[in-house]
C-alpha cells in the first residue's frame, strides 16, 4: 500500500468573521486541525486619524482620538488631554482629577464587559453576551447623562471637563456600583467553574512572561503571566496613589488566566469608583482656571467685554501649545494607552501618535497560536481583547 500522502491546507479567516472583533484577517496554514503558521493582515480600519489630527486645532482632536479605540473612548481622550496638559504645564484641580479617575474606571468596566460578553460567546457561552451588554447599557446611560452621547462623549477636554456633572449623576453611578458586584458574581457563577469554559481556556494560548516582554505586551495580558506592571501603580497619575486598590495577577499566562485577571480587575475598578464618587462633590469646579485654554463662564461672556473676546478667541483660533513633545501613558482597559504628541508652538498639533495595545497583541498572535488547534484561535483572539479600531487607527 502506498504511503499516506499529507498536505497542509490554507484557510482564510476574516476579515468579515464574527470572532475577529472587527476586521482582522488571518491566513491560517493547517495540518489537519493543527496550526502550522498564521499570517495576520490588518489595516482594514485604517482611517488616518493621526494625519487628520494634524489638521485640527488641539481641542478638536478629542472627538477624533475617541474613535480610535471605540470600546474605551474616554481612555483615549484622557491620555491625549493629559499629554497636551503636560506640554501646557497645566495642573488640574482635585475635583477634576477625581472625576477623571471615576470616568476612566467606568470606561474600563464598560470595555471589560464587552470583552467578557464577546469572549464567552465565541467559545460557546452565548447567553453571557446578553448579561454583559445589559450592564454596559447602564454605563452608556451614564455617558448619555454627562454628555448626551453614549459612545464617544468627548466629556474630557484639555483643561478639565466639558461642563459640570449633571443632576442625578451621583444617583446613577451609585445605583450602578451597588448593583454591579452582584452581577460580577453572577458572571463568575456562569463561567469560572464551568467545565466547558475551563476546558476551552485552560492551558490554551500560553504566553510566557519573557515573551510578553519581548513582544512589548503590557496590561492584562502581561499581568496574566505574573508581571505586576500597571501604570496606575508604577507611574501614578491623577492621584491614583491615594486610592486603595490591588493589581490582580495570575501566573499561568493562558486564556483562563487572562479571564481571571480581567474579572478581578472589574472588582478592583468598582472599589476605585466607590472611593472616587465619595470624594466628588455634586457640584463644584470642573476645569482649571487657565484663561488661555478654558473659556470664561457664559454669564461673564454676556456681560463683560474681555470675557467675550476671550471666548471668541478660544473658539475661533484655539490656543497655542508650547513647542516640545510629550508622551503620557495611562492604564487603559487593554494595557498601556499612551499618547505621543509633538507641538511646533502653533494652535495645531504637529504629530499625534497613539500607542495601540491591540496592535502589539495582534503582532504576537502568530507566536501564541502556532502549534495549537484551529478552534483555539478564536479563544486566543477573544482573550487578548483586541479592538481593530485601536490597532489600525
Amino acid at each position: 500500500m502506498a504511503e499516506l500522502r499529507t498536505e497542509t491546507m490554507t484557510v482564510n479567516m476574516g476579515p468579515q468573521h464574527p470572532s475577529t472583533h472587527g476586521v482582522l484577517r488571518l491566513v491560517l496554514e493547517l495540518d489537519g486541525e493543527v496550526i502550522q503558521s498564521v499570517m495576520p493582515t490588518i489595516g482594514y480600519l485604517h482611517t488616518g486619524i493621526e494625519k487628520t489630527a494634524e489638521q485640527k486645532k488641539w481641542q478638536q482632536v478629542i472627538p477624533l482620538v475617541e474613535r480610535m479605540d471605540y470600546l474605551a473612548a474616554q481612555s483615549n481622550s484622557l491620555a491625549y488631554a493629559m499629554a497636551v496638559e503636560k506640554l501646557l504645564g497645566l495642573e488640574m484641580p482635585q475635583r477634576v482629577r477625581d472625576i477623571r479617575v471615576l470616568i476612566a474606571e467606568l470606561q474600563r468596566l464598560a470595555s471589560h464587559l464587552i470583552w467578557l460578553g464577546t469572549h464567552a460567546m465565541e467559545i460557546g457561552a452565548v447567553s453571557m453576551l446578553f448579561y454583559a451588554i445589559r450592564e454596559r447599557e447602564l454605563l452608556l446611560n451614564i455617558n448619555e447623562l454627562i454628555a448626551g452621547f453614549r459612545f464617544f462623549p468627548s466629556y474630557i477636554r484639555i483643561g478639565g471637563l466639558r461642563e459640570d456633572l449633571p443632576r442625578g449623576f451621583h444617583e446613577a453611578v451609585n445605583a450602578f456600583l451597588d448593583r454591579f458586584p452582584g452581577k460580577v458574581d453572577e458572571f463568575e457563577g456562569l463561567l469560572t467553574k464551568n467545565d466547558i469554559f475551563r476546558r476551552r481556556t485552560e492551558g490554551v494560548g500560553v504566553i510566557s512572561q519573557d515573551d510578553a516582554q519581548q513582544w512589548g505586551l503590557v496590561g492584562p495580558i502581561a499581568r496574566a503571566t505574573g508581571l505586576d506592571y500597571d501604570v496606575r501603580k508604577y507611574f501614578p497619575y491623577l492621584g491614583y496613589e491615594t486610592y486603595d486598590f490591588k493589581i490582580p495577577t495570575a501566573t499561568e499566562g493562558d486564556v483562563y488566566a487572562r479571564y481571571r485577571v480581567r474579572i478581578a480587575e472589574m472588582r478592583e475598578s468598582v472599589k476605585i469608583c466607590k472611593q472616587a464618587i465619595a470624594r466628588i462633590a455634586p457640584s463644584g469646579v470642573w476645569a482649571c482656571d487657565d484663561p488661555r485654554v478654558v473659556p470664561p463662564p457664559k454669564d461673564k461672556v454676556y456681560t463683560e467685554m474681555e470675557a467675550l473676546i476671550q471666548h471668541f478667541l478660544i473658539y475661533s483660533q484655539g490656543f497655542t501649545v508650547p513647542a516640545g513633545e510629550a508622551y503620557v501613558p495611562i492604564e487603559g482597559p487593554r494595557g498601556e494607552h499612551g499618547t505621543y504628541i509633538v507641538s511646533d508652538g502653533t494652535n495645531r498639533p504637529w504629530r499625534v501618535k497613539m500607542r495601540a495595545p491591540s496592535f502589539l497583541a495582534i503582532q504576537a498572535l502568530p507566536a501564541v497560536v502556532k502549534g495549537g488547534l484551529i478552534a483555539d484561535v478564536v479563544a486566543v483572539i477573544g482573550s487578548t481583547d483586541v479592538v481593530m479600531g485601536d490597532c489600525d487607527r
Binding site: R5, E7, I42, G43, H46, G48, E50, K51, T52, E54, Q55, K86, L87, G89, Q213, Q214, W215, G216, L217, V218, L227, Y229, Y234, F235, G324, E325, A326, Y327, V328, P329, E336, G338, Y340, V342, W350, R351, K353, R355, F359, L360, Q363, A364, D392, R393
Partner: protein, 179 residues
C-alpha cells in the same frame, strides 16, 4: 534618572558613541546616532541599572523642510527600575536605520508601520511590506508633503478566469511540487 545619568552609564558600555541629552517635559530623552543604535539598545536592555526590557513604541515625526528631515522615536520602559526613556535618531530622507528587532522582537510591526507611514527604511528588517495601507499604495501618507486629501479612482480587478484544463493542470503541478 536624568538623561545625563543614563548617558554616563551608557558611555563605558558603548565605546565610541556620541550621545546627546535633549530637553523634555516628561522623562529622559537622548539622541543616538544610527551607527550605534543597536549596540545602545542592547546595552539599555541588559545593563543592570537600566534594564529597559520593554519596547513601548517606535514612531517617527517628519520635520519637513528641516534637515535631516525625520526623527525616529523609541519609547522604552524599564519595569524593574521604574524608568522611562525616549531615544531619538535623526534620519535624512533616503537614509537607512538598523532594525532593533534583534533586541526586542516586538519592534517588527512597529518599524513596519514607520516604513509604511514615513518611508524610512530599516536595514535588516526583512519584512518591510505595507501594514496599514493597501499593498499597492503609492507614497507614505504621514509625510508632511503628502496631501491630506487626494483623489484616487477606485481600483477594480477583473475576476480571474481559469479554464477547466488550466485548473486541472494547476492541481497536477501543485501536487507534483509537494511530493
Amino acid at each position: 534618572m536624568t538623561a545625563s545619568e543614563i548617558i554616563d552609564r551608557l558611555r563605558p558600555l558603548v565605546p565610541g558613541a556620541s550621545f546627546e541629552a535633549a530637553d523634555s517635559v516628561d522623562f529622559a530623552t537622548i539622541y543616538v546616532t544610527p551607527e550605534v543604535l543597536v549596540d545602545t539598545c542592547r546595552a539599555l536592555r541588559d545593563a543592570d541599572a537600566l534594564r529597559f526590557s520593554t519596547l513601548i513604541e517606535v514612531t517617527a515625526a517628519d520635520y519637513f523642510p528641516r534637515e535631516p528631515r525625520f526623527e525616529v522615536v523609541y519609547h522604552l520602559l524599564s519595569i524593574a527600575n521604574r524608568l522611562r526613556l525616549r531615544i531619538k535618531v535623526r534620519v535624512a530622507d533616503g537614509a537607512q536605520l538598523p532594525t532593533v528587532q534583534g533586541v526586542w522582537r516586538g519592534a517588527g510591526w512597529l518599524e513596519r508601520e514607520v516604513w509604511d507611514m514615513f518611508g524610512i527604511v530599516f536595514d535588516g528588517h526583512g519584512d518591510l511590506r505595507r501594514l496599514l495601507m493597501p499593498e499597492d499604495w503609492e507614497g507614505h501618507p504621514a509625510r508632511k508633503d503628502y496631501p491630506v486629501q487626494i483623489r484616487k479612482s477606485a481600483q477594480t480587478y477583473e475576476p480571474m478566469e481559469v479554464s477547466e484544463a488550466e485548473f486541472r493542470a494547476n492541481i497536477v503541478r501543485d501536487r507534483a511540487g509537494r511530493n
